[in-house]
């Protein structure tokens, strides 16, 4: 439920280190701030705003494309919590003034190294990167605005295509918002799909790191392994990127877990061999070690989530608040140092852990129905752990029709963290920094 508070109360939320700023959505003439306590998993929705703000604002304006997101005038929450600028789409706030002898580069949106459309303002002095400011919103498709007025079934198709490579995480977050309880078998199948998605995305991130280090054999081998996982997806879930698996109230098709188990164990064995070779390659490790460091203070100040937080010793993982994960092999993978190497090691640990989770659920698949009816109404939210961090979906539903939607992707929060991490590094470390975060522009732009 959303609690209405005053601006000074909001400021005390911002000053309290216990809460992470998870999201900020416009809702009619108010702003909804979402604060999460990652030690207990409790989440609080608070609303504030003065009535003189333009009431015709729509969720599409969150990205600042057609209007600025009005912050409460006296509260300087943006200074205490810099991630607020990214959440409200005000990326200009990260730009610094360019001194005379400093080189200013606008990298993107159509560029070779990124494969996707997004841009960065980079200030550099010689080889040294002085400041990076993300300039995102090129791929803004206004999905939050589009799903308003749709029924939950049709909206799910758009939600899956918000970021195709994190489609299960998105549809899980959306479905868990609109469902009250679903059959255990459907829930287990969703977990298997979610962990498969994590596996192929993490392998992809490692492959991109190997590509950045010109380790072409390693890159090819990991790329082939990723293709193996995608083919596994296609064989058991019918789609290489797992679209169409989730429907509100359950899953569409059953799976044959015996064959799946054999295939996933083969992939794990191959992965272990490749990782053994990769982490004994000193040339490769040297490039990652001490690159793009984020320490614990940065993580808390920037409200960073997911892989970079865990790599710096802050175990933020929303899976640990989900009761279905208790008594399973799931463990939060944590590293201490916070550099690109730590982030890769977290990924490696998580892939192994995901295989264990898949094994657990595939062996103990409950014999129940696959779907139930959904009858959602009121203010709802759902969370899910995508490969780079957690997703929050907040919805207001009336008789199955969506009235208002707010989606907060993990990349929105972690791009500013990447910009801070890469400061002070040299230019050739840029690709190592960005690939180690594993983010996506399609995800952050929604």
């Amino acid at each position: 439920m959303i609690i209405e508070i005053t601006e000074s109360e909001l400021l005390s939320y911002a000053k309290n280190k216990k809460y992470s700023l998870t999201a900020c959505f416009p809702k009619k003439d108010k702003e909804v701030y979402v604060w999460t306590d990652y030690t207990s998993g409790s989440i609080e929705f608070v609303m504030t705003g003065s009535p003189d703000i333009d009431i015709n604002r729509t969720p599409s304006q969150t990205l600042g494309l057609s209007g600025q997101f009005a912050l409460p005038p006296e509260a300087n929450i943006g200074e205490i919590r810099p991630v607020l600028h990214a959440l409200s789409g005000n990326y200009n706030a990260y730009c610094k003034e360019c001194p005379d002898d400093v080189f200013k580069l606008h990298y993107g949106p159509v560029s070779s190294g990124l494969w996707e459309s997004g841009a960065f303002h980079i200030l550099s002095y010689g080889e040294r990167i002085l400041n990076v400011a993300p300039d995102l919103g090129y791929k803004h498709r206004a999905i939050e605005k589009k799903i308003c007025g749709m029924n939950v079934k049709d909206a799910l198709l758009l939600i899956e295509r918000l970021c195709g490579t994190f489609s299960v995480a998105y549809s899980n977050a959306f479905c868990s918002a609109v469902e009250e309880n679903i059959p255990e078998r459907a829930e287990a199948i969703r977990i298997i799909a979610l962990e498969l998605e994590r596996i192929y995305n993490h392998i992809h991130a490692i492959q991109r790191l190997a590509t950045a280090a010109s380790q072409s054999v390693a890159a090819s081998q990991f790329s082939a392994l990723e293709e193996d996982v995608l083919r596994l997806n296609a064989k058991f879930f019918r789609h290489r990127y797992l679209f169409g698996l989730n429907i509100p109230g359950g899953v569409r098709k059953d799976i044959n877990t015996k064959v799946l188990l054999g295939r996933i164990i083969d992939i794990k064995r191959e992965f272990d061999k490749l990782v053994e070779l990769l982490i004994t390659s000193t040339i490769f490790i040297d490039r990652l070690h001490n690159t793009a460091i984020l320490n614990v203070e940065d993580i808390i100040r920037l409200d960073t989530i997911g892989i970079p937080a865990r790599a710096s010793g802050v175990g933020k993982d929303v899976r640990s608040f989900n009761s279905i994960y208790t008594d399973t092999p799931f463990r939060v993978a944590v590293e201490e140092y916070g550099d690109a190497l730590s982030r890769m090691m977290v990924r490696i640990t998580e892939i192994r852990n995901s295989v264990e989770i898949i094994k657990f659920f595939a062996e103990n698949l409950p014999q129940t129905e696959l779907k139930t009816d959904v009858d959602a109404s009121g203010f709802l939210y759902g969370r899910s752990e995508a490969p780079p961090g957690d997703i929050l979906t907040a919805l207001e539903v009336e008789n199955g029709i969506i009235k208002w939607a707010g989606i907060r992707p993990p990349s929105t929060i972690n791009y500013p963290a990447f910009a801070v991490a890469i400061e002070g590094n040299i230019f050739t470390d840029f690709s190592f920094g960005i690939e180690s975060f594993g983010l996506s522009f399609a995800d952050s732009d929604r």
Binding site: E116, K139, H140, K146, G164, E227
Partner: protein, 212 residues
């Protein structure tokens, strides 16, 4: 060590296009084909209006809803049409413009360079600059802010040049409505799929210069 590892793996590259793709290489979900049952009811559940007199393969997003109404998902992913071909072959350079995709199309294009498909053996290369490009490859629903960069990239390409739109978002707008790439730029070739599978992409790319 890596070289030994690489040699030990052996050849895993697909025999496509000389042989038909194997069952592993194509996903179970290709284009749907009507077998029996009520087309009118299926039309009602199709989210993209792909089902009309003939099924519009470029609008289909493989949502599998029409399966309940007598449609069957085939493994056929080789759906592409080319209106204007390249006058040469052998070394074709592709410039990728992501006009607002969901990252799945990007990933499939990235997968084309892996040892399973090895795009380079067929004479296709990705180039980082439009100045060297023969094909502009557009994916995704065209967003407002990407129109200008896309048109600029097209201007910068030398003649002869063709535009290939891949995926249902780019070819017809797909789930986002009737907003394909052809609203902004003349499209010479289309590849269907959501996202187009690697075999489908290879089929479409080979069609841009082959006479079949």
């Amino acid at each position: 060590m890596w070289v030994i590892k690489g040699l030990r793996k052996g050849i895993i590259t697909t025999k496509y296009p000389d042989e038909k793709p194997t069952k592993d290489e194509v996903p179970e979900i290709g284009v749907p084909v009507h077998r029996h049952g009520d087309i009118k009811a299926a039309r009602g559940v199709c989210p993209t209006d792909a089902i009309s007199e003939a099924l519009d393969f470029y609008k289909c997003i493989f949502c599998q809803r029409c399966e309940d109404y007598g449609f069957e998902m085939t493994g056929n992913v080789e759906i592409a049409e080319v209106n204007r071909k390249l006058p040469f072959s052998g070394s074709v350079h592709i410039f990728l413009v992501d006009a607002g995709s969901c990252n799945a199309c990007n990933r499939e294009l990235d997968m084309l360079t892996n040892p399973y498909y090895d795009l380079h053996r067929l004479g296709f290369f990705f180039t980082p600059t439009p100045r060297h490009a023969d094909i502009m490859f557009v994916i995704g629903k065209v967003t407002d802010r990407m129109v200008e960069p896309m048109l600029k990239a097209y201007e910068a390409m030398p003649e002869p040049k063709i535009v290939v739109a891949a995926g249902s978002c780019a070819t017809s707008g797909g789930i986002f409505g009737n907003e394909g790439v052809d609203r902004y730029i003349n499209v010479d070739a289309k590849i269907s799929g959501c996202p187009p599978s690697p075999i489908g992409l290879l089929y479409g790319l080979l069609k841009t210069y082959r006479r079949r």
